[in-house]
């Protein structure tokens, strides 16, 4: 954005702050500014509309709550009426609390699984080599930085649970869902309830048995048997018409070794399931049979290559 546009934005913001004051009476001056340049009105209304949406959403909240302090804490009614008093009373607690580190990370080692319970009662099962970032100030928002996790979310209409996965945002509508961070995006599979997937301008809503892979190219919908969504917890991976590039990422985590893929196989599709608890020798043979590929030792990892023609 050019410096001029940034300046228009700043001016528009200043006007909006003033116009929104019930005492505002400089309508002539404001109108003159709007009329001075076509871009003024355009930017002003864009900001005013967005701010109006935000305020309207706040008015739909059932009660004024302070999720930042601790779960279930609500402003007592009198304090809502005289918020300044509440602010004074909370001031000391606020200073003490805000000095604490606000973000923390939960990380599992390769091959480890761990179940955590969040402050609101939601549970998250982390697969191996998974990293989840949380912020005490935002108890209903987590970021899946790496790996795979199964979310069982306590639904709260007013405070949807958000999972950020790269450029994709998942909003639960009361639900159990599985999320995997992929090299170039995210995959979501829903077992119960529904999840909204937002990635850039694309949006879709997933119901039980739906899955989606979100990449910079868009959101691709797929399906999965709901009972297969959390199979990985017992060492069973299931795919339904999944790209091998995604299958390889699942295998890397489940088998605890880097599994790479010959580029020519990346877009090949696979349906089926694999028990990942067998010995490496058995695994290798099974993969070759199941995927119809050759498994080649590649340093510490395995490389999937097209099977030579017989």
């Amino acid at each position: 954005m050019s410096a001029t546009n940034t300046m228009i934005e700043r001016d528009a913001l200043n006007w909006l702050v003033r116009v929104n004051d019930p005492d505002f009476d400089q309508w002539d001056a404001w109108e003159a500014w709007l009329a001075a340049d076509a871009r003024h009105a355009e930017v002003y209304w864009r900001l005013a509309e967005a701010e109006g949406d935000a305020v309207e959403a706040m008015k739909t909240a059932p009660a004024r709550t302070m999720p930042v302090i601790r779960r279930g804490f609500a402003w007592p009614r009198p304090a809502a009426i005289a918020a300044s008093v509440g602010v004074l009373a909370l001031g000391v607690a606020w200073i003490g609390w805000s000095a604490l580190p606000q973000t923390h990370m939960i990380e599992t080692a390769p091959g480890e699984q761990r179940t955590i319970t969040l402050a609101d009662g939601s549970t998250v099962v982390l697969d191996g080599a998974t990293r989840l970032a949380m912020d005490r100030r935002k108890p209903r928002e987590v970021t899946l930085e790496a790996g795979r996790a199964l979310f069982e979310v306590e639904h709260d209409e007013a405070h949807p649970f958000l999972v950020e996965v790269g450029d994709t945002t998942l909003t639960d509508l009361g639900t159990i869902f599985d999320v995997t961070r992929l090299q170039d995006g995210a995959r979501v599979s829903v077992s119960e309830g529904s999840v909204q997937v937002d990635a850039g301008a694309a949006r879709t809503v997933l119901n039980p048995g739906d899955s989606a892979v979100s990449t910079p190219r868009g959101i691709e919908r797929g399906s999965i048997a709901p009972e297969d969504v959390d199979g990985w917890r017992e060492g069973r991976l299931s795919w339904n018409d999944e790209r091998l590039s995604v299958v390889a990422q699942d295998l890397s985590r489940a088998l605890n070794r880097p599994v790479s893929l010959a580029p020519s196989l990346a877009d090949r599709r696979f349906s089926g399931s694999l028990n990942t608890t067998a010995s490496p020798g058995q695994q290798k043979a099974r993969l070759e049979l199941l995927l119809g590929v050759s498994v080649v030792e590649d340093g510490e990892g395995w490389r999937l290559e097209p099977r030579p023609a017989p």
Partner: protein
């Protein structure tokens, strides 16, 4: 007129009748364009239900026109966004909920989560000032007294909250 001459609405209606051409001109200048007359008609319908004495009818009516222009713009944008988002049948929920309602609820709830998170990140007093101002409708002058700070400081806090809510720091800027 149906309202009796001494009801609050009656005085307001008289002022409205006087100001009507000016209000249409204002609505048009604000960006309502060809909808200016409709906007002013919306205002007319609303003020007939107005309660209580209005201290400054002219200012009140201008505010009403502004709000009506803004609401109209927001309505148009929402419809356009909804049409785009729900154009594929695969996206329709199957539980009998009207998509428009479901989506509106969802957007509101989702917006709320983002708004709350950003307010929490900014912290008080800025967040508390913003709530008092925009939710409770307290004027900036009153807030300056309540929070024991200058009017310009109140404005500064509000600008900070607006910028965060509207993503102006990160957004294309």
């Amino acid at each position: 007129m149906e309202a009796s001459p001494d009801s609050p609405a009656a005085g307001l209606e008289a002022v409205f009748a006087d100001m009507r051409p000016a209000l249409i001109r204002r609505a048009s200048a604000m960006g309502a364009g060809g909808d200016a007359e409709d906007v002013v008609q919306d205002v007319w319908l609303k003020i007939r239900n107005a309660e209580g004495p209005i201290a400054n009818p002219q200012a009140y009516l201008l505010r009403m026109v502004y709000t009506a222009v803004l609401d109209r713009r927001r309505g148009v944008r929402r419809t356009a966004a909804r049409d785009a988002a729900w154009s594929t049948p695969a996206n329709l929920p199957e539980d009998g909920v009207q998509p428009a309602d479901a989506e509106r609820r969802l957007i509101a709830a989702q917006t709320l989560a983002v708004v709350e998170a950003r307010l929490a990140a900014i912290g008080d007093p800025a967040a508390a000032i913003f709530r008092r101002h925009r939710i409770d409708g307290v004027t900036q002058r009153r807030l300056a007294e309540e929070f024991g700070m200058g009017l310009s400081t109140v404005e500064k806090h509000l600008r900070k909250v607006y910028a965060a809510l509207l993503d102006l720091a990160g957004d294309e800027a």
